[in-house]
Symmetry: C2
Subunit: 103 residues, 2 copies
């Protein structure tokens, strides 16, 4: 399993639109066969900062996500709303170690 945490700084005036686009991205991404979780979080201390928590079965599933039409639409829509480019950090899973605990 691979979990990517993505940190996104959004322009203040685009926060509400970004939340709507994120919910739509969540709804589509969790339907991908290799997806385990796709959580959308908003920092409590700084409401313009968001974290995506994207858990996938393997590298291939991560790659397939980036080929979906919903990912491409999301990227095109929200990139102009970002204050700075987003950063993604990939992780291996220590616990829970079984994929069934993720889906």
């Amino acid at each position: 399993m691979i979990v990517t945490t993505v940190t996104i700084h959004v322009k203040k005036e685009n926060v509400n639109d970004f939340i709507k686009a994120s919910i739509e991205n969540h709804r589509n991404s969790i339907k991908e066969p290799g997806n385990l979780r796709f959580d959308i979080l908003q920092s409590i201390e700084n409401e313009t900062q968001f974290t995506y928590y994207e858990a996938y079965l393997n590298e291939e599933a991560v790659k397939q996500h980036k080929d979906t039409s919903h990912y491409k639409l999301w990227k095109e829509t929200v990139e102009p709303w970002m204050e700075i480019p987003r950063t993604g950090k990939p992780h291996r899973v220590i616990a829970p170690a079984d994929a069934a605990s993720w889906k």
Copy 2:
């Protein structure tokens, strides 16, 4: 719901012990009634850097976690293994919005 992401930099010589202590902390924490998830991740790009993904029902459940004996034991055991003090960042949940999708 509240999700805290905790970033922990571990001294190289303590990485294996830290992983063992983290698995034990995970096993105990997911049994807490207010806990939804307690994922342990290791950065792929830097194997001494870990992320805890701690999802709780509410503030009260977060507070109760810090009162458990397993939290206190974990803290006492692993703090000397940290390269720098850990940092925790609290978030509100945008999606999935229903608690049932978290447990």
